[in-house]
Symmetry: C3
Subunit: 288 residues, 3 copies
């Protein structure tokens, strides 16, 4: 359970370790994500720490959404930097084991959690900066795309993209619209059809990431960008963000149940299940 809570401040939370003063930096660590909030700057850092590849399991997604909700409701928090605690990988995207050989009910629950995560981050009132310090396929890429700004380590071995088509599956319309809003229609169309994973330099050329920096400067740069965004008054910035993103968010909110139904129908097809099993076996062989 989280070590702090907006509702508990002030007075100092009874859940805080006894004997400690109200620290300028509060942390809580669940199983999958480490969260640190620097109260002096108003900036939280979320570090994915779910080995081996930060895959977005139901448990991960739930923890992610709850953490984002907490930060959203915490007046001390104005911005979030999202990064990975693992080397070479930001997040490998949706956990395929959650989509394979499970019940319809499980698929529905899982997809609702994916939606929830995206709604939280794409619709966040906080400034969100992705510090992409490793590869970031599929759902990992979606997280980055949903932030306000994307900085990536300039390592050409790291790649990023919505590669769902390579697995024989289709990104839902809200992945697509988030992508189009970042890279435009033409790039999105070919990249989605090809399930492209773009190297960091190529991703930068396409506008998929806003900036490349040497890996060791990534967090420093993310903090500097965040400070620049936080120099603006929150209220006007938030209303502006809402104006830019509301149409896409509303489309999912309106069609949420239908979108779940589509996913469940699609993913439970035998042909798709076979595709996913083949893909998982390929991944297992690679590991050996």
């Amino acid at each position: 359970p989280p070590a702090w809570d907006r509702a508990a401040r002030p007075p100092p939370s009874p859940l805080q370790p006894p004997g400690l003063p109200l620290a300028p930096c509060r942390s809580f660590s669940n199983n999958k994500i480490q969260v640190d909030l620097d109260e002096s700057s108003g900036v939280a850092t979320m570090k994915f720490k779910s080995p081996p590849v930060n895959s977005l399991s139901l448990e991960f997604l739930t923890e992610f959404s709850i953490s984002l909700e907490k930060l959203e409701n915490d007046r001390a928090c104005r911005g979030v930097i999202i990064t990975s605690a693992l080397p070479k990988i930001f997040s490998s995207g949706l956990d395929i084991t959650e989509m394979c050989g499970k019940s319809m009910e499980h698929y529905a629950e899982f997809w609702r959690a994916v939606q929830e995560m995206w709604l939280r981050i794409y619709g966040s009132n906080m400034v969100t900066v992705a510090a992409v310090n490793g590869s970031s396929p599929a759902g990992g890429c979606l997280i980055a795309l949903s932030c306000d700004y994307r900085i990536m380590a300039e390592n050409p071995k790291f790649s990023i993209g919505l590669n769902e088509a390579q697995l024989g599956i289709v990104a839902p319309f809200w992945f697509k619209e988030t992508f189009v809003n970042v890279v435009g229609h033409r790039t999105a169309e070919s990249s989605l059809q090809l399930g492209s994973l773009h190297s960091a330099p190529e991703a930068h050329r396409l506008g998929l990431v806003d900036e490349l920096v040497p890996e060791e400067k990534l967090m420093e740069k993310a903090a500097a960008v965040m400070a620049q965004w936080l120099a603006l008054p929150d209220h006007a910035r938030q209303l502006t963000k809402t104006m830019m993103r509301k149409a896409v968010v509303d489309r999912l909110v309106t069609h949420r149940e239908e979108d779940i139904k589509n996913f469940v129908t699609f993913i439970s097809k035998e042909s798709i299940q076979k595709s996913l099993r083949t893909y998982m076996e390929m991944l297992k062989k690679k590991k050996r």
Copy 2:
């Protein structure tokens, strides 16, 4: 009052200075804007001349809209070049004094004038070229964005952008859609949230302006671009322009009263009024 009028031609206008032949170049000068129409080329030049910074007061906006309407209805006029008669500034944007400490009725009247100006220029059947010969924040940027083509003096000290967020206010949806149509969603989203003022070279890189030229060549270049656009038959060009812009124009026409109401409610909030007063005081201190 204007020195010429479409309805008065032919025969030669009784309002023309007596004794002068029907000149190839007709001019009229109001308080805030100098208009010259070269009948041989069909090109009018509008020069903002409202010191110190061509701010868009209610009087300026009204004069601008009336001048545009006159030119629109004048068969001798096919294109307009918009520029500034003042050094270093194209237009500083909406006049903050019109939005500060006034009545609700005044805010409504002012906002209707802003809408009217944009509807006239974004929906104009004439070819419109902005010759941006100085800085152009907020409403000044909107005027440039609403033209068919933007040329800017390549002076890195000149900046342009929709920086409303820096004042704690929010650009309305039609500013946003005009901006997205020019620079795309990603650039618009971050630029609007940050209230960015882009230097001329950066504005060129982002596509916010189409071309940079040395300041002394600006009007020459604007005339050359205009000649290129006027080489096309008017009718097909106008229908094409309407096809490209109608959706955004219609959205404002349909929601015009609602948009005024939103503006009045927003701007008359005490928190916003305070923001604007602080901003004006900062500007005053800067001047000293």
Copy 3:
């Protein structure tokens, strides 16, 4: 009549030349377009061969749509490369003689054939690659824009663009939306208003074509790109393509009769007819 037909396989088509085994490469040649399907790769090549300039006459369009429909329904075919058998020209676009001095019924029939061609190619489930080996104005450009990928010979003498405005006519909304999806709103707006024909290098800079290669490498490159696209599973790619293009396709399907009516009304105006006659006379003089 075509020399092969999906319905006839297997068993081997009675229409095939007797004595020949079921060849890995099947061809059929009508008057205007040569089609070759390589069954081993699943790739068909369509070569326009209608001298002097592959103009899109009613007959050409009909043959084009029928050929596309055949390939679409042929399980052996997964992708199509579209190119020209004539030197220096890909296609000169809609045949002006079909729009000049004919009956209202003829205009309606012709326009329906233009719509049909676009619906077939923009909505195709196959991978479509344009190998643009010559100039490609107006309707020729539309064909290229409607493919998944555009490769152009890097000859600066070859040009491409939607230059309808130069003829005094207006591209319909679905030309416009296809164009905006490729080059974005700003470029589409000025290019359509000016009726611009962009040289190959400029077209590449604008994103109107994805790649330039030396003319002698064009087909080789097209085959390589096709192989890359065909490496993906068809089903996911097709669903993704539909997701990206459905909105525009549906808009024409819904407004198809209205769009025909608009075209017929517009094109049969005496002022437009005069424009087209002038343009044709200019073309004739050029030829001499």
